[in-house]
């Protein structure tokens, strides 16, 4: 057998082996991708997730939404209020002129045009197709420019080691984090922990979660019925969080 014939035979053998290997592995890969798609599926622009918060139903003394978020995402602090993270907070308002008061939770407003995403040098701050604004903890370099850029003070920098992390929410010292709209629940067809707590624990029903793109959703119906406001609407960022009663 000449060298050329030998090489050609060897090539055929190698190609055959590779094809065999491909045939035996491919179904496995296919299975894995099918399983993942079944659990989550890619975020789609068909949805635009948002919140409606009715401050008339919210009580200044109630912090169930905050507690639920802490428990769900595991961002309990270290008794250093200035540097401890806060993904959601209760803000109490008093009208300067009339003295009227209101209370409402403030978290990431999941803007349509988020300034945090604009300024992030690495693209760690990002907006999903369905409008949920997230931080990719793997490529966040901890520059905090997004915190400078957020008009809502919605973001926190992790100032020290983190413990007892949740499996669905990896966190890391030296990176920035904020409300994820409980993306792990939303992807599984659920509602954010704060909304659930407001209804089930506080019994106030002050928070409604849903798809702003779906005219049949409860949130869309309510938004179509009553005039609502969005924080710093003048900036034109089109937040996904709407407020009524202020």
């Amino acid at each position: 057998m000449s060298d050329t014939t030998f090489n050609a035979a060897r090539r055929r053998l190698l190609a055959g082996t590779a094809a065999l290997a491909g045939i035996s592995v491919a179904p496995g890969i296919r299975l894995i991708s099918t399983a993942e798609a079944a659990v989550s599926g890619p975020a789609s622009a068909k949805n635009r997730w948002g919140l409606l918060i009715d401050s008339n139903k919210c009580d200044a003394g109630c912090t169930e939404c905050v507690t639920a978020c802490k428990t769900e995402q595991g961002w309990t602090g270290n008794d250093r209020p200035e540097s401890d993270p806060q993904w959601i907070r209760k803000v109490n308002l008093k009208d300067n002129k009339t003295g009227a008061t209101a209370s409402l939770p403030v978290m990431c407003q999941h803007c349509e045009h988020p300034p945090c995403v604009d300024v992030c040098p690495t693209g760690a701050s990002m907006k999903r197709e369905d409008g949920i604004v997230l931080v990719d903890k793997h490529i966040c370099i901890g520059c905090r420019y997004c915190m400078m850029a957020c008009p809502y003070k919605a973001r926190s920098f992790v100032h020290e080691d983190v413990h007892n992390q949740k499996q669905h929410m990896p966190r890391g010292k030296g990176t920035v984090e904020s409300c994820t709209l409980c993306v792990h629940r939303v992807d599984a067809g659920g509602t954010p922990a704060c909304v659930e707590a407001c209804t089930e624990k506080a019994g106030r029903d002050a928070m409604v979660f849903g798809d702003l793109n779906d005219p049949a959703s409860e949130i869309s119906k309510k938004l179509a019925k009553h005039v609502t406001t969005r924080l710093r609407a003048d900036l034109g960022l089109e937040p996904g969080v709407h407020y009524s009663g202020i």
Partner: protein
């Protein structure tokens, strides 16, 4: 004008070795501070979730802004053809690169994850001015490095003008980028203003020249090289113009804000009710960084006194740091206006002026950046011929006349006399 002879410094005196030792100690201390901050997390600093950028950013921005300004002296000779500044071109490019290196060191080492610098180099979001700045800063090293080479390599001297022009345009872009870090922030009352970019450019002219004058005087004194009065007088007059221009921009910035009612709150905070920030604005930025240096530089007596000129330059540096502090920290301390017209309170310090006191590690890191700059300059002037052997008026002033005869005020533009002769010692 005579031929310029460039030489290295001897660099074997006790003073020089001691200087290197001190600067090295500061750099080592800064690295120790970084380890302390990164190991424990940023809670050990004065920075928090209200004031997210602190003292490291004040040092870093100041040094980066000054870096592009330090290049002015070289630009004046290469781009604008002033031959008298030609002997200073090499030192100007060196100081410029060293300042940028010092500033970037501080900026990068304060990151939450400095170990991920490679990510910042590989993943870009081109809508981010920060991402643009990564290109502007690294490009500056390349452009100014080439410019320096054109100046130092005799065979390449003919390309000095073109390289200098590219570097001049690049430094304008760089400082525009630095100013725009703040100019592009829509969220905060103190920023979101187009004036930030040109204001940072004029700040760079002033801070960079002040540092250049101080370094030049120190190097001339330390190495016993003559430094002529005419050159000093030219530079101090130029510094005076830049200081006045910085004041002008500060006036325009605040007058514009004062006209718009929505900015009255933040203006009242900076100009009258802001405590430390108000103090730093009036006494640091305006008085020490502006009015006093102007008086010293232009007064008939102090304007001729080298010590007073050096003092004025030092004041410009101190006032410049105060200005950057007021912009960066003061701008963050003023609470975000999320609910205009309402009094707000929360567990997250809404509606409250942010509190910040610089911690020791932050200051040490910042000073480490300054030390890095000076260390680079000190080592480079020993390694390569950056310094002219003399800057005496008789040697570098094309219009120099012997003191006895009548001085001729006539201007002439002879460009070919500045032929250089680099000499490796």
């Amino acid at each position: 004008m005579k031929r310029i002879l460039f030489t290295q410094i001897q660099g074997n005196s006790t003073g020089y070795i001691a200087l290197l030792g001190w600067l090295g100690a500061f750099v080592a201390a800064a690295l120790g501070a970084v380890y302390f901050m990164e190991h424990n997390g940023h809670y050990v600093t004065g920075m928090n979730n209200q004031i997210v950028w602190g003292m490291p950013h004040v040092f870093a921005v100041f040094l980066i802004v000054a870096a592009s300004g330090a290049l002015n002296i070289a630009s004046i000779s290469s781009v604008f053809g002033r031959v008298m500044y030609k002997p200073l071109g090499r030192l100007s490019t060196l100081l410029s690169l060293a300042l940028l290196a010092g500033g970037l060191m501080v900026l990068v080492l304060d990151l939450g994850r400095p170990d991920r610098l490679d990510v910042a180099m590989m993943k870009y979001n081109f809508k981010s001015i920060f991402a643009w700045n990564i290109y502007l800063y690294t490009g500056f090293f390349a452009v100014v490095g080439v410019y320096m080479w054109m100046m130092m390599e005799r065979r390449m001297n003919r390309y000095t003008k073109i390289a200098g022009t590219v570097a001049f345009i690049w430094r304008l872009a760089l400082t525009t980028g630095t100013g725009s870090i703040f100019g592009f922030l829509v969220a905060r009352q103190a920023y979101d203003a187009a004036i930030m970019a040109p204001m940072f450019i004029i700040m760079s002219f002033s801070f960079g020249l002040a540092i250049f004058i101080l370094v030049l005087m120190a190097v001339s004194n330390g190495t016993g090289r003559p430094l002529g009065d005419v050159l000093i007088a030219k530079m101090k007059n130029l510094l005076g113009v830049f200081v006045a221009a910085v004041l002008y921009f500060a006036v325009v910035q605040h007058l514009t804000n004062l006209y718009a009612t929505e900015h009255h709150g933040v203006e009242a905070f900076i100009l009258s009710d802001g405590g430390i920030y108000t103090g730093l604005f009036w006494f640091g930025q305006i008085l020490i960084g502006g009015l006093l240096p102007l008086a010293l530089l232009y007064h008939p007596t102090t304007g001729k006194d080298r010590m007073m000129i050096a003092l004025a330059a030092a004041m410009v540096v101190i006032g410049g740091m105060a200005q950057v502090y007021v912009i960066i920290i003061g701008g963050q301390a003023y609470p975000l206006s999320i609910f205009p017209g309402y009094e707000v309170s929360s567990s997250f310090y809404d509606g409250i002026v942010g509190s910040y006191s610089p911690s020791l590690p932050e200051v040490v890191l910042g000073l480490g950046g300054v030390a890095t700059t000076l260390l680079i300059v000190a080592i480079a002037i020993k390694a390569l011929p950056f310094l002219p052997a003399t800057l005496a008026d008789a040697d570098i002033d094309p219009h120099y006349v012997e003191p006895e005869p009548e001085p001729e005020p006539e201007e002439a533009d002879s460009d070919d006399e500045g032929e250089e002769a680099a000499e490796a010692a």
